[in-house]
Each structure stands twice: as C-alpha cells, then as structure tokens.
Subunit: 515 residues, 2 copies
C-alpha cells in the first residue's frame, strides 16, 4: 500500500479527455475517507491529457479514495487506498491561528520571519536555484511571491513564462507577447481602457504551474511557508484586468493545484487597492470563493497598498499589513491586534536597501528594530531587500547583501527559546516594549509573567533598573539584538541596577530561575 | 544725557524705606514717554533700601520718565530723561511671533536652536562660568532654565541659594534648609499633605535674583534667549506648593525684575501637569496675570509633562511642547501648527545621552534627526544632553560631550541661509519632508516655491529623482546633515536623477538659480 506522511501530499493522476478545453469542460474529483476525516477534493487538468488530484491527509491511518467526474469516459482505477504514517520530525503541519498567534497544527510554535521575492519564479532558472540556496541558510520561514509576473521599475525584463496561453490556439508565442509590450500598468487616477491582451484565461500555462509545484514543494521541504500572491497591480499583460469569470476559474485552478501543500498561504492580492479594475465587491467575492473551495482552510488574507483591508471579514485569517504611516510601522501592531483579534503579520515594513523609493531604502538597523518592535507585541514581520543592482532580492531573489538577515536569524533563535507559542505585549516603562511569554498551546492565551523580554529600541541607557518580586529569583540576561550576543547577568530579585553598554538595540530578558 | 541702545535696559535706582517688608509694603513705578511710545513700569525692591525700575525702550529717541510710589517719603530725582540710540548690530530686539514663525522685532529671522540646563544657576559659580563658555561657542540661541531650584534624580546636592528667605527673620540659614531635606517631591498619585517648609515667600532672596540678573544679561549679550521656567514640580522645598498669594507676588516680582531684558521668555511652568498642588484655574490665573503685567508682551507659554496645555488660550504666544508619544516627536509638528496657528517650539524631544530614563538616552543622530524633522515643518526644537556623569548638561550645565551640538550648528547655518524668516512644510514624496522658504517678513506668510529643502531622514537612497519645471534653472545641493557638508550638484531643470551616497540623514536643497 502506498505510504505517505501526515500532512504530505497524495497525488493521483489519471488520463482523460483532451478534446475541447479540458481546463474548463471536464471535472475530476475524489472523496477521501479515513477513520478520522472525510474530504471531497477537486482536481485539475495538468495538460497532455493528464488530470490530477492532490490530497493532504490531516491524520495518520488508512485512507480510501473514490475518483469521479466526467474527465474520462471510463475512469481507470477509480478507487484505492493508502496509508498515512507519522509526520517527519520537521513536518508540523500547516500553520494555523490560535487567538492572535500563529502556530503549526501539531502545536509547535511558529515564529514567522518572512521575506519577499515577488517575482522569483519568473526569473531565469539558475537564479531561482540561487534563491533557494540563500533561503536554505536563512532564518526565513515564510516567503511572499506572485503567481503572476510583475512589471514595474527594475522588473522590465521578460518573465520566464506567462501564466496563460495565448488565445486562438497560438499558445505561448513569446514573440506575440513582446508585441504587446505596451505599458499597461495602472496607477491611481489612470483611466482603464478596454484592451485585448490576447490571452486565453481559461488555459493556464501548465509548464509554469508545474514550476510553481516544484518551488512550493522545495520551500515546504525547507520549512518555509509559501505566501502565494494571487493577484497584484504591477502588470502590463492584462492580468490585473481579468474579469469575474476568468478570475474564478484561475482561483479554482490554483486552489485545486496547491491546496494540498501544507506550507501554502493565500494572499488574495498584493496592494489590492492599487488594482484599479477590481472593486470592493470583487475582493469580497474572491475571498469568499477561496474560503469556500479550500478544503484545508489555509491562511488567507489581503495585503494593502495605502488602505488596509477590513480584516474582520470572516474569510480572513490574519491581518496582512503594509505600513500606512511613514514613521510608525510595527509600533502600530497593538492597534490592529485590538481591533481585529487576529494575528498581525507585517508583510511590508519597508525594505533594507538604497533604492530611490522610500519603501525600499531603510537601514538594516531599522529593519531589525521594526522586527523586534513587532515581535515584542506578538506580531510577525516580513523582510525584504532592495539594494540597487541588476538582481534585487525583493523581486528577483538571488543572494542577500544586507546586514539584517543574520540579525533576524538571531531574533528567530531568541523567539525559539520563548515558552509557549508567542509573546504578548505587557505593561512596561515608557521607553521599552515588553513581550511576555504567552499563548501556550492547549492552555489558551494566558500570559506568563515568569518570562519577559524588554526591548529598548533606539534608547541607549548606560544602566537600567530591574525591579522584581522580593521572594522569587529571576535569571536576567542582556541581549544585544544588533551584535547578536546574550550576556547572562545572573540571578536577581528585588531592586537591581544593571550596567548597560549605552548602545541602541538592547533587550533585557527576565526568566524565573530554574524554568 | 544718559544714552542706551534701543532694546537695551534703562535702570533707575532710588533709596527708600526699609521698615516692615519692603518687598510687599511699598511700591515704585515710573512712566516713560517718548515721541513713539508711552509705558508705565512697575519696579521692585532689591534689598539694602534700594528700589529699582528697569525699562526697555522699543524705539530710538529721547525719553523722559517720572517716578512715583510710596517707597520713599520723598523721591530723589523723580524725573529725568535719556536718549535711546540705534541697536547694536547684534541686537535685533525681542523675539516675537509672526504667523506661526518666530522672528526678532527688527524683522531678522530667528531660527530657534534651544537647549536646556534646568538648574545651571543653582550650581557652583565656576560651573556656571563654564556653562556660559560652552554656550558662547555653540549654536544655541535659547536656553530653558528654572528660577526655582530642582530636586530630582542627579539633582540632590544643595542648591547654591534659595529663592526666598526663611521666615521669622531667620533669613537664609542654610543649616535650617538642610534640616528639612525630607523628600517632598510630588508625583501623580501622591497625597499632598500640608507642610510648613519655613520660607517667607514674601521675601525673595535678592542675592539669588541678582545672580539671575547677571546671567540673563550675559545670555542677552551672547544673543541667547532666556526661557525662564517660573514653576516646576521637582521640588522638596515647597515651592511647588506655594499658594495663590505667594505665587502672585513672586510673578509680579519676576516680571518687574526681568521684563526689561529683551531676551526673556516666560515659561509659566515646566511639566505643569506634574505640579499636583495647582489646578487648571491656577495656571489660567497665573498665565493671565503675567500677560496683564508684562509691559512688553514677551513670549509666554506652558510646558507639559504628559498632557499638552490648551495653547489656544489668548495669553499664550506659542506651543511649548514636550513629546507625548514615545515614537513620534517633531513629526507631529503639523498637527499642532494646524490646531493652534501659533509657533511650535519643541522644548523637549528627549535628550542625547545614556541615562536609564527613556527621555534621556537617545543618540546624537536621533536628536539631530528630530531637529531637522521639526525645522522642515517650520517648527523649532530644543536640545538637551544627559550623559551619565557628576555634571549633566541637562540640569547642571558645564561642558557638552555629545555629537549633536556641532550638527545643530550646521543646521543653524543652513537655516540662516533660507530667505525669509522660516520654512513652511510643503507637499513632497512620502519619504521626504519638504520645507519651503516662507514667512517673509513684511510680505505676510506666503510660501516661496523657489527655495526648498527636502529632508530624507532615516532613508538611505543611492539615487533620487529631482523633477523641476522645464523652463527654470535651479541650483541643486546635496546636504549631509550628519557629516555637515554641502555638495553643489549644479544647475538643473526638468527631469533629473541625482546620485546619492546611500546614507541616512541627507537633504537636497533646490533654489532658483541666481537667487
């Protein structure tokens, strides 16, 4: 009997009809059943007469399946069974929401350290390999990227492939693509003119989608969540102007194809409010559609440009934020946590780099500071890098040049030592932000006052008061978040004054001794 | 005939009665008259039987005066005259308000670069001399300090002198002062208990007030505004609990004594909201009192702790601010300018240093950045320094150790080159704050679009677009606000891309060529 691991992918392939438009004209489905769950899964057409169903089992045990649909006159091996064994030690299941925190399904903490490479899968293959190599050695456990190509400053080369075939049977003639290289990107105030971009949106380019299969699976094996951006404004090929029917078919295809990857998140759009051809009711419709067709309830949100989405919508699992203020970024986490009672994920807090645009020219120090400010508040942050070059991480991937990624790895280690699944912001002095261990899995969201981290940000004190209960001993550690050191200061109780180095970006960790 | 300069001080001294309490029991006044003005001036008792009147003439010309009052049975030389000549080149008259800007009375721009040494006049005299020496070489043209001594962390040594005599004829027995060294400082939530501190508030210690005479005059000669803090909370001697009558007499004394110094500003209180023994109506009463008795209409405001004062009050000339948010300081200038339509003076934006308190441990870079953020918005800022030591500038004066003062001098030079009397914030890219020359004296408050400074703060772009009208030439300069350099980039018009060093704290200055 075929064996897979829990939260792995069981893929079924069957040959079927090729006449007409198989992406649209025929269906394939399967029902899966075990002692502990029962799911109906929609498959997809993968070209060359092959129809596929991908299923992610949520439990161990023996599963049976039954394939149905009109994709074939007679379905070959319509039923079968397979065995689901324990998850590998590195496989903790999909990321889910617990209160305002994220965690893996098996209860393991997930301290999200994100990054962004919008169009990395549209770059030359050797560059994609380099990106994977960089990610492998990094702290990043989430990456945001687009399923549609990107046209924008520094992104004007032809993408590796287009997501749809050309209409009229012309397929993927790249010459034809090039003849339409008119800049069709839409910006606020720009008039939308009907324009035939020549794509047949009912025919996904399976070559490209197979590449995404591979990349998502590779990320999964590296323990990296794939935050798939389904739509975005930076386009000259018309994908930002696809109509209702085309979008529905595309979203169905994507959910059928990638839903079984445990590391998938759905980002309905990057900067949804800059996609001028779509209205609020469109986003609602597409969000609800994904919510209704995704059998696994993957993480799902919408990322803003200037105006944050209404994250209270029931289909939204978390706040996916871009800062909307120039000065305040992750310092505003409290506000969103209070307003929405959902995890707060700062997917854009400006990028480390030196581009001419303000969103892409902050220092490594500022990037790291924003991460710590967010982390202490129980929010999650995303990195990006924009040093002026031919290849820029933020969109192309490649190699990292900045100084923040190493520090984010250090932050990741510090967070990894926190008991429970995350931090809850607590009361502190006015010049510190204090995160207490909290959100213990299985114990609800209680805050644990025996474990706290006091982050001092831009302040540079030469000493500091540490006031503790008289009757309990605490281990006090000095953390240099920039130089990545932890200096134990010993056990303390009552009133203490500790010496500090008079540098910025320090933190004090206070843990009940012996815990 | 005696000659003084315009905006100088004409001092008249007359002997008078010494029986009873001359500070309280007798009056001295004088009327001054010239072709251009007429003023009635109240004098004050200076001890040893000497009564004084100080007058600052606002115009050139011949003045006559007439002394009156019951201070003497027979007034010696009750009338006289003197001549007022032109002001020295360094004397531009008192600072006044024009719109939301400050300027000197003669129309000269006043780009306020403040500093704070709360208790410098209560320090040993040689330290006071050192403070003056430091100020002489600095960019500071305003200094905030208290007329009452200060008791607070790092301020626990006995002050040089007390502002009032001891009651019961015991005068200024310092032994007696020491026996009352109980910490009487009040903090929010602390109960106010009636307590006799043993001072006779009707008897100012003229020795101390003579020292203030000297210091204010020395500052005046150095072109430095003396922002006199009249009341404050950090006290153990009871001055923060003085009653209505005592306060009135004190304020009358101070205004009579110092009103004629053109460089005087009245800061009714430092952190008024921490002075627990005073209620909102007290502040209103004292503010209106000063407003009504000050013959010159000196700058007058109230400085906040946590809650800003209602600067719309008619007796308030300007907003005297301490930041009320940990992250945002001078970035909030726009809000106050819009709300109050009065000059915005950020007297506390945290201090450069390394104290354990968050208000006293920012970097020099951050201090300078806050100054530039404020300046570009047409606001004014104050510096302070708190490096942990026996002598700390913020309260004691002495010598500066920090890196910001030199950069503030550079800022002062840059501002000194701006045409008109100040900057007005204009529209800019979202990652810059743009100050346009504005507030031209005599031309109202128009903004001059031919002269702008674009400050990029924490951003570190490697290049930048400079988009100018096609038909006009502009001189473009790159300003490194930290390294204090101005690099001319030549004349430009139309669309340009300029190379930037990829460092923080840069500004671009754009001036119409030939202007």
């Amino acid at each position: 009997m075929q064996k897979i691991e829990r939260w792995g992918v069981l893929e079924l392939s069957r040959l079927g009809k090729t006449d007409g438009n198989p992406f649209k004209d025929y269906t394939i489905k399967a029902s899966f059943r075990s002692d502990r769950e029962e799911k109906s899964i929609t498959g997809f057409y993968d070209g060359d007469g092959v129809y596929k169903i991908r299923f992610m089992p949520s439990y161990e045990g023996v599963y049976t399946y039954h394939i149905s649909g009109n994709f074939a006159h007679s379905i070959e091996e319509p039923t079968g069974s397979f065995e689901v064994g324990p998850a590998d030690s590195e496989n903790h299941g999909p990321v889910v929401v617990e209160g305002t925190h994220l965690r893996y399904t098996d209860g393991t903490a997930y301290h999200s350290i994100g990054t962004t490479c919008y169009a990395w899968v549209f770059q030359p293959l050797n560059l994609q390999e380099r990106t994977l190599e960089t990610l492998r050695g990094s702290a990043f456990n989430k990456i945001r990227f687009c399923l549609f190509p990107k046209f924008y400053d520094y992104n004007k080369k032809e993408p590796l492939a287009m997501p749809f075939e050309r209409g009229n049977g012309e397929g993927l003639d790249s010459e034809l693509v090039k003849t339409n290289e008119k800049d069709r990107m839409l910006f606020p105030g720009q008039k939308i003119e009907p324009y035939d971009f020549g794509f047949d949106y009912t025919r996904p380019n399976v070559e490209l989608f197979r590449l995404f299969d591979k990349r998502i699976a590779q990320l999964r094996e590296m323990g990296i969540e794939a935050d798939l951006i389904l739509m975005h404004p930076y386009d000259k090929w018309g994908m930002n102007q696809m109509g209702r029917e085309a979008c529905e078919q595309y979203l169905n295809y994507v959910v059928s194809r990638y839903g079984a990857y445990r590391n998938v998140w759905w980002s309905l759009a990057n900067e949804y409010d800059f996609v001028l051809a779509k209205k609020p009711e469109d986003w609602e419709h597409y969000g609800e559609l994904i919510f209704s067709i995704d059998p696994y309830g993957h993480m799902l949100s919408v990322h803003n440009g200037l105006k944050t989405y209404d994250f209270s919508r029931p289909w939204i699992t978390h706040c996916s934020l871009q800062r909307t203020d120039f000065y305040l970024t992750t310092e505003s986490s409290d506000r969103y946590l209070e307003q929405y009672h959902k995890p707060v994920v700062w997917d854009e807090i400006c990028y480390e780099g030196n581009l001419e645009m303000g969103w892409g020219n902050i220092t490594a120090q500022e990037m790291v500071r924003r991460f710590w400010e967010g982390a202490m508040r129980g929010a999650y942050c995303g990195h990006g890098e924009t040093y002026l070059d031919e290849v820029i991480w933020w969109s192309h991937g490649g190699t990292l040049k900045g100084e923040s990624p190493e520090r984010l790895k250090f932050l990741s280690q510090i967070l990894g030592e926190v008991p429970g699944i995350g931090l809850n912001k607590g009361e502190g002095a006015f010049d510190e932000v204090v995160g207490y261990a909290g959100g213990h899995s299985g114990e609800g969201m209680e805050t644990c006052y025996d474990y706290s981290i006091h982050y001092l940000g831009v302040c540079q004190p030469a000493k500091r008061r540490v006031i503790l209960p008289e009757d309990t001993k605490y281990q006090v550690d000095l953390i240099d978040t920039w130089n990545m050191t932890v200096t134990p200061l010993g056990e303390m109780s009552g009133f203490n004054i500790i010496q500090m180095p008079g540098r910025q970006y320090m933190a004090i960790r206070i843990c009940k001794a012996g815990e």
